[in-house]
Structure formats: structure tokens, C-alpha cells
Point group: C5
Chain length 357, copies 5
């Protein structure tokens, strides 16, 4: 499955390199790197689809808020260029290029560095996809680095373009909040998908066992494990962000980050609940498999217990001994049949008493 291989493949790309050397770590992608920016203040708004690092750096000299979005981080030259222009620490560059980087928050005085994970769930059978987003929050700019085109930020873009919500009135810190909030909101959609699928499987578990229930439960476990691993560090990260007391986050925005923290708690809460539900489902599934086995065994036992002695009796009278007095009795056959019937009924009464039938 896709998510696991990533955990350790970091070593491949990095072995043999000096520690801290900037290099794109992860599968190579062929698309071009693409820089776009949005620049706005309460009144004006400007947007450009493809730009250069230098142009972006110049923009930030005005007092407007500038959001620079970098899609594709495989070209380490461009990223290093940006790092140089915006005075980013070499370790920040390394973390931006390392697609395996866990969610984390670091405060480098002149900027805040935030790593997030966008989640995508195409299909339960294929596992989850994860895409790293690095966010740099400076005095009046935000830089986001994505692995590939396509993201969850369209809502934010619309709000800027159409001047909805508070984003145009507040500064770069609120923009950073809005971007992180968009990522966290997208988790709720994933959770909803998982929740719906769990609900479907839950009925299967008790009622009619499909043969693939167990592998479905296994997949759920994997998916929830994966979610956990993504959201737990996020919680810690946002708590640190909220409490950092950095000058880059102004007073009115702090409350929004506190609210965001509440949302991550809610995500974690739901993930943990799903985890418990899935674990309970597994137990219930096991029990009901056991129960069915018990049922099967009972039927076999009832039938065998009734017929084995009867068949033995027919065996006796099927023997070819020359002298078997019963065989010559006129009513021998019917007496034997009657005797077998009595045995069968006695057995049935016995099973009824044991509540088996």
C-alpha cells in the first residue's frame, strides 16, 4: 500500500549525502515547477498564474499581503532560490524538499514554518494518498509549497477574489490560518467517507457475513491508523503555533487559531471513536463467526447423533449370520423400525431439553 512505503524510503534518497544537504527526497516527478501569487489588501487584488522567485520577492516589499504558491517541489534549484531570497534557514529548505517530513511547526523569528499533510482517499482498496504542504508565514507574505497541482485551497482563493469573509481585512497571519483551516476541514470530508463505509460494513458484521468482511475491517484499521498518524502531530503542531507568542501572529488571529485547535481536537476525537468502533466491530465479527461455527457444529452433531445409532441398528440386522432369531420374527422388521423411531424421538426430546433445537 502506498502509504507505508513512504515511511522508510527516505533513507534511499539520502544515503551518501552530507547531513542537511538540500535535495528533493521522494519519487521524481516530471512536471514543471509552477509559481503563482495572489497579492491583496482590503481594496485591491492582483493574481498571476506563473511567476519567478525574484518577482515574488519584489512584491513582498510593499505592505500588501502576498500569497506565493509553489506547485512541484522536485526542482530543488527553484526552492533554494526562494529560500535565498526570503532568507530561509537551510534546514527549512531541507524540510520543504523532504516529502516524508512529519507535520511540524518551527519558529525562526523572522518567519514561521508549518508542515501539513493533505489527505486524499480515492478508494478504500487503494489506501490513502498524502501530500505534504509547507507553509512559510512571514511579516506580510505566505509561501505554500505543494508536491503537485491540485489542492484544497480553492475556498480560500474564492474568498480573496470575491472579498468574502475576513480574509481581505486581516493580514498574512489570518491567511495562514485560513489555509490550515482548509486542510483541517478537508479531513472532515475524509472522515465522513470513512464513517459512511463503516456504517455499511457494520450491518454486514452481524447479519449476513460477506466473505470479505474481514479484509474490509482490516482496511478500515489501516485507514484509521493512517489518519491517526497524520492528525496527532497536527494537534501538537497547532498547539505550539497558538502558544508560540510569535510577533507574526497578531492578537485578533490568535482566537482563530485557538478555534482551529478545537477543530483538530474534534478530528482526533472522531478518529479515536472510529478506531474504537472498528476494534469493537472486529470483536463482534469474531464472536459472530464463532457463533455461526457453533450453529454449524450443532446441526452436524444433532444429525450425526440421531442417525449414527440408527445406522448401527440397521447394520446389525444387515449381518449375514445364519442364526439370527429376530430376522425370522413375523413383525421383526416393524419392531426394528419402531425401535429406531423411539430412539430418534428420545434424542430429539433430549436436544430440545438442551435448547439446541
Amino acid at each position: 500500500m502506498a502509504e507505508k512505503r513512504n515511511d522508510s524510503s527516505m533513507a534511499h534518497g539520502k544515503a551518501g549525502l552530507p547531513p542537511g544537504a538540500p535535495l528533493f527526497i521522494g519519487g521524481r516527478k516530471t512536471e514543471e515547477i509552477r509559481l503563482s501569487y495572489m497579492r491583496y489588501n482590503a481594496n485591491l487584488y492582483e493574481e498571476k498564474e506563473s511567476s519567478t522567485p525574484e518577482e515574488c520577492a519584489n512584491l513582498c516589499e510593499s505592505s500588501d499581503v502576498v500569497w506565493i504558491n509553489v506547485e512541484g517541489i522536485h526542482n530543488s534549484g527553484t526552492v533554494e532560490k526562494i529560500g535565498e531570497l526570503f532568507n530561509l534557514h537551510p534546514l527549512t529548505i531541507e524540510d520543504i524538499l523532504n516529502v516524508m517530513q512529519r507535520p511540524k511547526f518551527e519558529d525562526f523569528d523572522s518567519y514561521l514554518f508549518i508542515v501539513l499533510k493533505m489527505l486524499g482517499i480515492s478508494d478504500m482498496t487503494k489506501g490513502m494518498e498524502t501530500e505534504k504542504v509547507s507553509v512559510i508565514l512571514g511579516e506580510n507574505f505566505v509561501i505554500t509549497f505543494q508536491e503537485k497541482p491540485g489542492d484544497v485551497f480553492d475556498t480560500v482563493r474564492e474568498c480573496i477574489r470575491e472579498r468574502r469573509g475576513r480574509v481581505r481585512e486581516l493580514g498574512a497571519d489570518y491567511l495562514a490560518y485560513a489555509l490550515i483551516d482548509a486542510v483541517v476541514d478537508s479531513y472532515f470530508l475524509i472522515l465522513e467517507t470513512i464513517g459512511d463505509q463503516i456504517e455499511q460494513v457494520e450491518d454486514q458484521v452481524i447479519l449476513n457475513q460477506e466473505s470479505d468482511t474481514i479484509s474490509k475491517i482490516h482496511r478500515f484499521k489501516r485507514a484509521v491508523l493512517f489518519m491517526r498518524r497524520t492528525v496527532w502531530p497536527l494537534r501538537e503542531e497547532i498547539a505550539l503555533l497558538e502558544k508560540s507568542g510569535s510577533d507574526l501572529i497578531k492578537e485578533p488571529t490568535v482566537l482563530f487559531f485557538r478555534n482551529l485547535y478545537d477543530h483538530t481536537i474534534q478530528v482526533i476525537d472522531t478518529v479515536e471513536t472510529y478506531r474504537d468502533i472498528i476494534s469493537g466491530m472486529h470483536d463482534t465479527y469474531l464472536s459472530s463467526v464463532n457463533n455461526r461455527m457453533n450453529e454449524v457444529m450443532k446441526i452436524l452433531t444433532i444429525l450425526a447423533t440421531i442417525f449414527i445409532p440408527l445406522t448401527f441398528i440397521t447394520g446389525i440386522y444387515g449381518m449375514n449370520f445364519r442364526y439370527m432369531p429376530e430376522l425370522c420374527w413375523k413383525w421383526g422388521y416393524f419392531i426394528a423400525l419402531g425401535f429406531m423411531l423411539v430412539i430418534a424421538i428420545a434424542m430429539l426430546v433430549n436436544f430440545r431439553k438442551k435448547k439446541w433445537i
Copy 2:
């Protein structure tokens, strides 16, 4: 089940909206929004069934305690109106409208914001219902927002009307305490219902296994999981409330909140105990299913073990070989019967020695 869908459906209503935009999140309900208030001091008492936000705001200018109860939060216009009149923060409005909001406590200097969950258990088969209650505690007023009509506050209303207890003597902080206490007390009723049902199922588990025991246990697990998720944040919330040191909570009321904290601990304690009991029940159930399977297998094995060799013997003498000396012996038949009897008795003695019968 009703409780799960809620966890993630939040994303639906909210996707595509600017962060923090006030909007009622949750299933739309058609009833009218309804404002009622109670206004009292030690001597006087006034009550009105339906009122307007403006009238309520005016009431609060006197020094009397005013309790404003809002039923139905689907009309975000009214809630926003109240928010404006009482100077509530936009994030508070958002939290009031979001029915998925976890229990939480926030101190906004001029008011305290408390979110609670009322629980309803109509029937074990249908799962639990939850209703969010938001409580705003100001200098001399309390505002409660409920999702729909019907609540657990009638006791408090009676105490105000009939001047029972301390509620008329003490201020708005004691009123807030009394309301939260009513919610926590209602949890005890839920726990009692669950406790009774657990007790009924517990006997089934060991004695006569009904076929639906496992799904009952599964339902209990879900119910307790649901309770846990509701009461754990409550504990944290009330601890924060007690320790907030807010000026809005006067000295004599602090002790009552400490007492309330004790009650939530007791709820959690009981929930955790139920959880352990249910988990133990499940283990015991599994063991007793296993045990019964063992019993069934033993009966089958005893019977088969006795009759299979005997039937084999009858088979031998049922063969049609021309030359089989035993068949011609005068006592052949009886010798064969006797031999079979000896084998059967030997088997039985053997089983007795193994303590199977």
C-alpha cells in the same frame, strides 16, 4: 446509527464557506425559533414565554438575574442579533450554531461561554440522541441556546418559580451552576438505564445464550463509547471553569462548581466501570460460546467414537463372502453382539476416566 453520522457531517454544511462565517450547521429543522425569559431577584419573579432579542437585552440593564432561553438555533439571524446585542465574539456565534461542537469552555472576559451535551436514550436499538446546549454567563444574565424544544431544566424552573433552594438568593453564576448540574444529573438517569440493561444481559451471558447476546453487547459498547466521548470533555471543561478565576463566578458559587466537578468525576467513573464490565462480559461470552462448542464436540465425539467401530463390525459380517466361518457358528450372532457390547462399555469407561461423562 444516529450518533456516528454527526461526527463528520459538519464538513458538508461548511465546505465552501469562509472560515468563521456564522451558519447553522446540522440538519435543518422547520420549527420556529422561540425566545423565553425568566427574570428574578430574591423577592420578585417574572416569566415570559415568547419574546424578542431586543426586549431581552433591555431586561439585562436592571440588576435582576435574567435567564434567556433560546429554543431552535436554525435561524442564524436571531442568534446573530442576540450576539450583537450582548457583544458576543463572532467565534462564539459560530460555535453556538455548529451543532457538532464538542463540550467546551471559553472565558471571553465579559462573558463565559460553555457548551454542553444533553443526552437522550429512547431505546437501545435506536442508539442515543444528543442535543447541544450553549450557555452564556454574563454579569447578571444567563443565555441558553437549545437545538429544539424539550430539556432537562424544568427542575431549575420550578426552583425559581417556587423559590426553592438557593437559586433566588444567589446570582446568575449560581443559575449557570444549577443548569449545568441539571444536565449532569440527567446523565445519571441514562447511566441507570444502561446499568439495568447490562444487568439483564449479564445473566444471559452465562446461563442461556440468546442468539442476540452478541449484538446486545455490541450496542452496549457503542452506547458507552458514546457516553465517554460526551463526558470526558465535560470533565476538562468544568475543571477549567472552576479554575478560571473569572470575576463572573463569585466566591460562594465556586464551591458548588467544585462539587459539580465531583459529580462529573462520578459519571466518568461509572462510565469507565461499565466499559470494563461490558468488556469483561464480552470475554466471558466468548469463553462460554467456546465452552458450549466444546460440549457439543464432546457429545459428537463420544457418540461417534462408540458407534463407528461397532458399525464397522456390523459391516464385516454384512459382507457377502462365500466362505466366512463365523457366520455359520451357532452362537456367532450373539458372540458378535457381546463383543460389540464389550467395546461400547470399554469406550464408556475410558470416557468416564477422562471425565468427559
Copy 3:
């Protein structure tokens, strides 16, 4: 079982009452309330079996140590009277009357309030009994409230009467210590009973499985769960008590409370060990049930595997085809018998190789 019902029945008695209203919560008991006191200093000693609240309050004006024992808390009038005379807080009265109250410690400056649980184990089948004891420690008096007659304090009474130990030399704080110590010591007796019973069952688990082993293990689990729930809050309580730094506890007694804390740790330790042992016993039990099932299945399979092919051969020569050449062979019967023997021996050798027999 008795212990569970209690958890939630609190709600019954209390629903519909103003918060904090003093009322005896728990099953009504018909016995009279009974006040007795002991009054002593290093030299003198006085004891009275039945007294009145007023008389007791007067006693406390001297500098002697006074121990007032109240048996039966169903008469809330008397308890409230005492509360008034000794200046107890209304919430203390409420907690004294609430028999569901968890063990807790509160420091009300002028007195310390301690809630304890006495445990009684009449018979494993009947579960455990619990009785709440509330202890009020004042400047020179101790008041104990018990639910019903009969307690574990006789040792302390003897020490006072016969001037054994330190109790007559030290003050009310040492008396309180001695009383709590008596309760904790009684836990060791309970643990010993449980320990003995566990030891008995442990042998059953592996050797000869009685049919009720699983329900015994279930009962142990319940009992230990119950103990845990009682002793964990006690630990916290005594730690708070020791660290409270209250003036009511003098320097020399603090060391004794620290020692008491050690004892509760030891109780918890033992309870946790029992819990692990019982949980291990359950696992072992399951394994040995599984093992036995395996044995049963093996015997069945060995027998069936040997005789099913043999019976099939007898079936062949029992067929009535007109032309079956073997039937006419002179040694046909013995060849058939020999062939069957060969098959049987081959099977047995095979099983021996698989180490089944």
C-alpha cells in the same frame, strides 16, 4: 449485583430537587439513628452509648479529644442539626447524606472532610458490599457518620479504652489517622480472601476444568474492578490529605499519614497484581479450553479416519451384485480382513509420525 445498582440510583432520589438540597440518598432504612461519643485525654476517659447532638457539641468546648460516632444517616434532620452545631458547610451535609459519594477529601479551613468506603465481602456469589463512612476532623473532635451499625473501628475503641498505643497521648488528628488506618487495614483482609479464592481457582484452570470456572473468573473480575474503583480515589484522597498542610494536622501526625499513604499504595499494588493475575488466568483458561477441544477433535479424527475407509470396504463386499469375483475366492474374507488391518496399521503409523498419538 449489589454494587452496580448503586452507581446510578442516585439520580432517582435526587431528580426534582433543588441542587444541593440535603436529603438522604439511598435505600431507606428503618433503624433509628444512634449517636455515641468517646471523650478522652491522656489521663481520663469517658464513653456514652446514646447521646444528642447538643450534648456532643457542648463536650467539644473542653480541650479533651471527642469522637462522635453517628450510625444511620437516613434521618437527615439529625445530620443537619449536627451540621448546624458544628458549622458544617451545606455541601458537606449533602455529601454526608449521599451514600453514593466517592471517597474524597476537602479542606474547609475550620474542619477537614474525608469520605471513605468500608468494604464487606460476605460471599463471592453475592458480590461485595460497601458502606460509606464520612469523617469530620475538627480542632479537638472527630465526627464519623456511618450508614448502619457495625464497623471496623473496634480496634481503635479498644486502644482508647485500654490506653494502648499512642492514641491517648496524641490529639484528634491522630484519632482520624487511626480510624482511616482501620479502614485501610480491613482492605487487606478482603484482599486476603480474594487471594485465597484466586489461588484455589488457579489450579482448576489448568488441571480439571470445572464447568463454572468461567463464571468464577467473571466474578473475580467484577470483585477486583470494584476494589479498584474504591481504592484508586482513596490514594488520591490520602495524598491530598497528607499534602494539604492544614493546621488541623499537627507535625508528628503527618508522618503517620505518609505511612498510611504507603499502605494504600500497597493495597493498590495488590489489587493491580490480582487484576493482572485474573486476566492471565482468563487467557490461560481460554487456551486450555482450546487445547482440550483440540484433543477431542484429534480423538474423533483418528477414530473416524481409521474406520471410515474400513467401513467403506465392508460396504463394497456387502453389495449384492451377482458377479463379484472376490466373493467366491476361498480366502477372500481373510484377504479382505488382512487388507483392512494393513490400512489401519498404516493410518496408526501415520498418526504416530504426526505425534498425534
Copy 4:
């Protein structure tokens, strides 16, 4: 098993005594109490096998280091005598006499009081033995109280006698360190024994299941549970000791205590690892029992499934109906045999396809 009974038998000896009364708690032993001492400084060394409390107390007036070893604590008179001479607190005396005392550390300004447990593992079937050692560290003396003769201190004695290591150069605090270190080192020996036995059983678990594997695993669990209970409090104890900042422990010795703390961590680490290994072994054992059962069932099912239909066919042609055309066919018998062979082969092919054979 020996270790469990001890947990609770404390109550027996103590019930009915004033709290804190010194009394030997534990099984009575008949041997004499025996006092020996070693007295040394960097140059001189003196040893005496049997001494009196008074003589020992006199020794301590010099500036030499004195190690007093008391074997047998059943004679509470002698212990009390020592307590008096060395100014020990009555609670220390009580703790010395109570053989059930958990490992603990207490700082009584003028001396440090340390309780340790020596472990002995005679044979896995008999469980573990534990012996309490109380260590009193004063200004220039160490007193050790053991339950019975025989200990793990011979290494230390040799070092003193032969002037090996640092013990003769450093003071009483280093002696105390060396004694505790000897106890902790002895744990490693126990762990090695357990580790070897685990290794032996581990192979059994997967390969050839001995019938007693489950009871061996059960015994391991018990042993590790017992170790855990002994070493966890030790860790806490030594951490407290190291951080106590007592004047009795000089600067150079503190580093050694820190090292000792590392060793206890290593013991705990190993115990926890064994615990996980044993728990994993149990799971693996269960799985492999299940697997074998599956194998057994498959063999039975294959055989039964092949022969049951065949036997049915022989049954048909064994019927005695007057008019059964097949019986008269010339090749009837061989056709029947051929038909049976076809069925058997079809079954076998089917099983092969299911990968059962």
C-alpha cells in the same frame, strides 16, 4: 504460590493491634537473631560474627565506617533495641519488622531508610522467593536487616576484606551504594535464568507443542508480573534517593547512585521486554493451536467427504430389493467400482484446487 499469599497476610498479624505498634509481621521463624559487624577505614579492618546492639552502637562513635548486619527480624525486641540506640523513628521500626513492606525510601534527616527486595528463583515450578532487606544509612554507619541468613552481599564483603575497588576509600554512603548495587546485580542473574527458559519454550511454541506449554507460559507471566512489581517501586525509590539532596550522600557518591539508577532502568527495560515477548508467545501459541486444529479438521473433512458418498453407494447396492436391475448386469460390480473411483478422484482434484492437499 508463595509470592501471592504474602500480599495480604499482613492483615492477619496486624488486626487488633494499635496502629504503628512494632511487631514482626510474617511467618514466625525459629532461628536466633544474629548481629555481625564490619568496621573499616582506608587502612584498618575489623570483623565480628556475633555481637550485641550496645557494642555496635559504641563502635559508631569512632570515625570509621561501620556496617552492622542483622539476620532474622523476628525478634522485635532486638530490633527495637537497635532503634532506640540509633534513634530510629517508631515508623521505621514498624517498616523494618513488616516483611510485606514495599521497596521504599525515606529521608529522616539523621538517617536514610531504604527498603529493598532480594529475589530468589529456586525453580520455575515453585515460583519466586522474596526477602526484604532494610538499609539504614547514617553518618558513618550502615545497618542492614535481613529476614534470614544468606544474602547477595558476599561480593561487597570480599571487597572490604581484600581492599578491592573504592569501598575502603569512600564512606558509609558508598557502602550503601555497593549493597544496593549488589541487590540490583542479582536481578540480572534472575533475568538471565528467565531469559534462558523463555528461549527454550519459544521454540516449543511454534514447532512441537508439548502439552504443558500453556502452563509454562502461565508461569512465565506470573514470574514477570512478580519481577515488575518488585522493580518498578525500586526505580522510583532510587530516583528519590539520588535526588534527595541529603547531606548523608556525599558529592562523589551521587554519580554512582545515578549509575545505579541506569541499572534499574535496564532491569525494568528487560522485564518489560520479557513481558512483551511472553505476551507475543501466548498469542503465537494460540494461533498455532488454532492452526493445528484447522489441520486436524481438514484431514477429517477430506477423508469424510471422500468416503461418505462412496459408502452411500455401497449402501445402495447392499439393499435387498428384489428387483434391482444393476445387480444383474454382468459388469455391474466393476462399473460401480469405477464410478466410485471417479467420484474419489473428482473430490481429490477439488481439494487440490482449494489448496487443502
Copy 5:
């Protein structure tokens, strides 16, 4: 298995020695001890394959950075010599010689002492190998002690030789960072190996059960347990190192250590995820074994249930009673056959209804 024996064998070598006496603890190795050094500054670079302690000590008097690498710690004389020359504490020497030493960090003012574990995974069947590396970081030197030749430091050596990365510009503290980073990076390679193997087994678990799946899972559990034990103390160690505030670690290097801490967290994260995955795999495996057993039982039961009654009927008409009217009926045989067919079809319909076939 290799890793376990080590846990406890420490006691062997050490029993009977004074505490803290330096001695090589671990299996004796016959190779020579080998000292090599690298000495460099930003401009110059010097390397020597085999050297003496004295020569190395002299080197350190210049201001260049010196890295002394000691391979083979069995010769305690050489190690003690180095300890003397570099003023190492006796306990540091003891820890360097003890191959069982857990990862730890100690700050001895004049130098920092760091113990690491290099992991090697030759083959899953042989378990993991561990090699201790002790790192001494002084003012301008780093000393590494390895158990045997062969390490993971070649990357660092190359960087020094070829002047790649920052290592030549920065001081001894950065060298220490680079060495520890090399060890942590090697963990990722191990994790990748384990991850690949888990992925292979994961498919086996659900689809076609190889008979050795359970022992593979068992080995994974052991390997992950082993990893956990190695990396958890590492995390703590690096956290201490980062926060030590030692003067030996300069400002610019602190950030790199913080980054290193992030890497260890990522290792732990992956290990914990693998642990959960393996535990989930085990559950799924158990379930699917259960499921297959159920399938097997169903097939047996279906077959037996259909044929047992039929065989009974053939048995009846195989009896040799003289007077059995059905036998003489013209169509008796075909009626009997038809009757059996009806029974068989009824059974099949019944099983179809139960969804067994």
C-alpha cells in the same frame, strides 16, 4: 536469539567484581584493538589508520578538530589509557566497556558522553544484531568506541575527505551531530527492509495462507519490539542532548540537533505504526484462520448432513428380515432411490436458504 541473551548476560561477567570496576563485559573477541584518527580544519585534512592513545592525545592540543575512532573495546587497558589521557570519569570507562549499556547521554562538564546502538539486520530468520557505539564529545575532539570493525560512518568520512557539506567548516559538535545522524539514518534503512517484508506477508495473510505466516508474524513482532527498545531511549537521549545547554554545543549546531530529534521522532512513529500494523495483521490472520475453519466445517457438515440420512435408508433396506414388504414391491428400488433424491434436494434447498452454499 541473539538479541535476547544479551539482556541479562551482563551479570555473568560482572558478578564478583567491585562495583564500578572497569572490565570489558560481553563476549570476548579475538581481534586487535585498532585506533585511527582524522584531523581537519576548514583548509587542511589528515588521516591515520593506526595510532596510539598518546599520539591522539597530543593531536588534540592544536585547535583542529580531531576524530579518534576506536574499534574493538575488549582491550580494557587501551580504553582505560584513553580515559586517563582525556580525563574521563571511571563510570564513563565502565559504560564504554559494558556492551549492554542502554543508549544514554551524560554531561560531564568537560565532555559529553553519548551511547548509541547501531542496528544490523542480516536476515529476518536470524534476528537483529546490535553494536554499541560510545561517543565522547570534547572541546575540539570526538572519540568513538565501536565493538568491532565496520560501521555506518563512511558517509561522514567521505564528507570530511572531499570537503562536502558543512562538516569541515563547523567544529567537533557538528561532527558529533553528523555521526549520530548517520546512525539514525541507518535505522531508516532497517525500517525500509522490515516495511517491505511486512508488505509481502500482508498479502499472504488474507489470500493464500502459507503455513509459516504465523511464525513470520512472530518474527516481525520480535524485530519491532527490538527496534522500539533501541529507539525509545534514543529519543529521550537526544532530547536531553538538545536541551543540555552545554557549552560544548555551539549555537548553530543546536538547530541541527533539533532536526535530529525530529528524525528520531519519525523513526519512533514508523516503528509504532509497524507495531500497530503487525498487531492488526495478527488479528486479521486469526480471523481468517477462523473463517477457513468455518468453511471447512461447513463443507463437512453439508456433506454429512445430506448423506447420513440417505445411508441410513440404504441400511434399512439392507437388513435381512424375512418379512419386509417393500423389498418385494416391483418399483420398490426406484421408489427408494426417488425418496432419497427428494431428501437430498430438500437438504440442499435448506442449505441454500441458510446461505451456506
